[in-house]
Amino acid sequence: MHAKTIAELSHDLQSKKVSSLELTQYFLDRINRLDSRYNSFITVTEDQALAQAKLADAQIQQGNSSPLCGIPIAHKDIFCTDGVRTSCGSKMLDNFIPPYNATIVDNYLQAGTVTLGKLNMDEFAMGSSNETSFYGAVKNPWDINCVPGGSSGGSAAAVAAHLTPAATATDTGGSIRQPASLCGLTGLKPTYGRVSRWGMIAFASSLDQAGTITKTAEDSAIMLNAMASFDSKDSTSIDQAVPDYRADLNNSLAGMKIGIPKEYFSEGLNPETEARVESAIKEYEKMGCVIKEISLPHTHLAVPAYYVIAPAECSANLSRFDGVRYGYRCSDPKDLDDLYRRSRGEAFGEEVKRRILIGAYALSAGYYDAYYRKAQQVRRLIKQDFVTAFNDVDVIMGPTATSPAFEFGSKSNDPVAMYLEDIYTIATNLAGLPALSIPCGMVNNKPVGLQIIGNFFAESKLLNAAHQFQQATDHHSMAAPDID
């Protein structure tokens, strides 16, 4: 049962083959039995899940045919959940129980989902390996000596270990797509503004975007249908109608123009990863797509621009954690300044502190123009590369990550090496574009992801391209070993 997709489970629920209560209990049992291996959950909300499942069963009895009604899911611990601890992977929020739900949490409750719990993540979503979590690293179900990717490492590991059929996640520089790639899953980052950020703990507000990690593109479409909405409480939410993302899944890809950016096949790319990505592109050619080499000339500047903009926004956003209104407070502060300095010094991890300091530097008097303004100008050049490319092509394809999952500790002492892990994903966050990662083969028994980038609001087209690939191949149905 745990290998099934949302679409399959939904069919079972609607045809009364299984109840939501049975399904929920089944996944809770799996979490209790197996998650000590992976550490993917921070909090399991068993009682609440069982109550929600009973409610969903009653709704199904009454004829609720929403495809998500009764489906258990889990949320990245960055989304505020009313009455349930929301830690953001940090000691700072280890005791934080939000008095409200994030908009997307409400959206999913509205759709009838059951919440199994809250998922592990890099602290404040800052990391590409899930090694910065206050709650310990998450292990990759494909190889427990390797990282699951980050920052949504708990989301990816939990879906890969079949502890939940799907998970919510967030992506500021690749935090959905890279873990999806490293764990053999479908990870979708929608267009900036498509999904509400309200109640999602902010890291870099002009880049943060919520999305999903699922087994298939079809599930991704089902999940996005409920997640996407215009939200007046998020000032950057885009007021545009939400289409049915399943509507275009079965469209033919014949004639679709695919751009292959030569900069995404540069020296840092693992040759075997490259070979898997190239065979996936050949598969698209067989489906009638037209392949075209393109250039995104400012690609090499994406990581440098990001590491000015993201820390700058992070230093402003994280100034709210002051030890006064909620979260961690140091003991016996001698004065107000000591209260701030020690509460923040004791409760933030090394990576978070590092980024706050870089942000403070880039925004400080005398450096603003050389760093922050410059990075924002380069950001426009990067976006312009994509705008130009999309005049000629429908989607852009390339690798999601430079290599398959790496071992714990191999990059954690070298921040720059860790930052370069996101070299193929960061540019789309800077540009605000939607992108997804789908599994396209294995290297040394570890999954490799194909990244597909679309134009603004082209989620349907991305999901169509991904779904058609998953109809023609079976990379997405490979399961991690030893998960039974």
Binding site: H300, G323, R325, R354, I356, R373, K374, V416, A431
Partner: protein, 116 residues
């Protein structure tokens, strides 16, 4: 015209400073830790200084790019802030918010004494 020249000079000045002080030192990290209100222990300051120097050299590549006339980009869709009607839209939830505060009294947040 005078304003224009002053702006240019300031830019030149900050770029010159950038070139000179690209390698941050311990004193600068101490200053940043004060600005950001984050205690950095003496035991870790060298490590923090080194990693920030590494990151700044990565970021350094931006300086080589000609961005003359390029408008800085703050929002991917160049959207502007939506305005709403100036009416009360939230109810008072002080009690609920203060139940999660470290220390409160009579509806107020408690901090160490600021004024003697």
């Amino acid at each position: 015209m005078v304003d224009f020249i002053r702006t240019r000079d300031q830019q030149a000045f900050s770029l010159a400073r950038f070139a000179m002080e690209n390698n941050v030192d311990r004193t600068e990290i101490k200053k940043l830790s004060t600005l950001a209100r984050i205690e950095i222990s003496d035991a870790t300051i060298d490590e923090v200084t080194n990693s920030i120097t590494d990151i700044l050299s990565l970021v350094d590549q931006l300086q080589a790019v000609d961005t003359t006339g390029v408008e800085p980009m703050a929002h991917p869709l160049d959207a502007v802030q939506r305005l709403r009607t100036d009416i009360v839209s939230e109810s008072n939830q002080r009690e609920s918010f203060q139940t999660i505060a470290p220390m409160t009294e009579d509806g107020l947040y408690l901090v160490p004494k600021v004024i003697d």
